[in-house]
Point group: C2
Chain length 320, copies 2
């Protein structure tokens, strides 16, 4: 069912129903704190962090947000081997907002709820959204095909997914995938979402940990600059580059899963997104990158999103 944005701002204690997505190599404590300080909910992307590094980023976010006690959370892909240890570290450090993904919502939701946490699971289908609700999640992120990074196998787009998830569950739905400006926020709210999760647009902010080369590549991207790849492994949306071309050539000649996995190797995402190797790195980014043309601060970005949202809603006529 459709919920008002207040269901999201109340759930997280934020000023706005906007979540800055947890992104590997991009959203550390600095970005999460900046997004939270701007009125959104900042998320530390724990997927690329060993427990000690996660602890460091949590402490950084705490120090950067302490004056105003604004909330932040962490995103943990449950399939990562360190997931349970990451959760322990985060709980010990006082984190009480968890976004989980890439795994069953049944796995850790009851445990986190028993520790007084707010738990949100990421889903790419209405059926999984229902399972999240049954597992006790407080909300779901429904993420469409246009989203960056790892992606669902059914290729359901945000426009198609959101209304069906809204109709499938009673908990609030947070829309994700393809949201780069206030017009898209208004669109998702019209579909019945109570809030939005934004990744790519936050990846190209001053406070993002993305390498300057990667930020520049985002601002120069074209509508056809990303593609969903490596469907034999886990589908992932990437910015096209030399590495992308190599994988595509392998896929076209019918390379096996093992060959592709071997060429992928280890550390590709870090090399591209954090270290700025635009040729050999794996550059996870959403399709909306082609609408990202600058690198503002989080505060500037959030102010802009608010203005664009209000203008988009104001432009709508009450009747068709």
């Amino acid at each position: 069912m459709a919920h008002a944005p207040a269901s999201i701002t109340k759930l997280f204690g934020t000023r706005l129903p906007i979540i800055q997505a947890g992104m590997v190599w991009v959203s550390g404590g600095k970005l999460a704190a900046a997004a939270s300080n701007a009125g959104a909910l900042g998320l530390i992307g724990a997927g690329s962090m060993k427990p000690d590094l996660l602890k460091h980023h949590i402490e950084k976010a705490k120090s950067l947000t302490s004056k105003t006690s604004v909330p932040f959370g962490i995103n943990i892909p449950l399939l990562y081997s360190a997931a349970e240890e990451q959760i322990k570290v985060a709980l010990d450090a006082g984190v009480r907002i968890f976004f989980t993904s890439a795994g069953s919502p049944k796995k850790l939701t009851p445990f986190l709820k028993s520790h007084g946490c707010t738990v949100v699971h990421v889903t790419s289908t209405p059926d999984l959204a229902k399972k999240c609700e049954d597992a006790g999640c407080d909300a779901v992120v429904a993420e469409g095909f246009e989203a960056g990074g790892h992606n669902g196998r059914d290729e359901i787009t945000t426009l198609v997914l959101i209304p069906q998830v809204v109709d499938a569950v009673k908990i609030p739905v947070i829309a994700a995938g393809g949201i780069g400006d206030g017009r898209a926020i208004a669109a998702c709210m019209a579909l019945g979402a109570a809030g939005v999760q934004i990744g790519t647009r936050f990846a190209a902010t001053v406070e993002s940990s993305a390498h300057a080369n990667f930020k520049q590549a985002i601002t120069e991207a074209k509508p056809d600059s990303t593609f969903l790849m490596m469907k034999q492994l886990v589908p992932v949306r990437l910015l096209k580059n030399q590495f992308f071309d190599e994988i595509r050539a392998m896929e076209e000649r019918g390379a096996s899963k093992e060959e592709i996995n071997a060429h992928l190797g280890k550390g590709r995402a870090k090399a591209g997104m954090l270290d700025g190797d635009l040729a050999n790195g794996e550059l996870e980014i959403g399709q909306i990158c082609s609408a990202v043309r600058d690198v503002p601060t989080c505060a500037e970005l959030v102010t802009r999103l608010e203005k664009e949202y209000a203008a988009a809603v104001n432009h709508l006529q009450p009747k068709l």
Copy 2:
């Protein structure tokens, strides 16, 4: 730039900024007339018709709409060999609204404009939208990855595509792909579209020419029931069935373009969509089919869309 819905209703002389998409084997004169009589712009899908049959459907639509003089148009894929003859037949029969697709907008737009026609071209990228504008089109349909039937190669979703097309051109933008209810219409308007083109939802109406078996299959579809296939030929979104599985198996074993084309053969779409062979037919349909649960009349559907749109806009808060 964003235009008001009035730019669309004025352009076509309709009550509503809704276009019923021209669909092969589904949208004949009966559906176009019913959609137009309900206040939308009905389109006859000429792609599956020889010129004589097109003439028959135009006369049928004229006879079914004559009492109220409501407008209707035709959709012509320019790559079809009979396209120019179809246009001649339509012009002779008095049609003055043309939606063209699958070809260059430069090809026939000046000719049609010189005959006093309103011309709209279908595009799946902002760049092609600009070319449509330059060619003299009155509006563009911007159609996303979730749309049924033939599809762009860049897999840009409606949510990502619409704002970028709106920013790229000065003519009105009609959003298409993934629009099944009034919430999605409101969403597309929030993105800056002046109107919407709806296919799949109109395919499952009483007046659609789709076979009853196909209509029933649409109402039973699940979110993962469609997929974009045959990318070696022209990408096409199909409902999964035995034929789909056969093509997928061929693609997975690396079959050549020629092999796939041979298995596709002739008449697959007619067999499935018009004659109701759900096993061996090619069933072109949009991803939003999983939200289509009934077969209303066009009048019932349009009334519902209007109510849903108003409720969705009413639900939006003016500020984030």
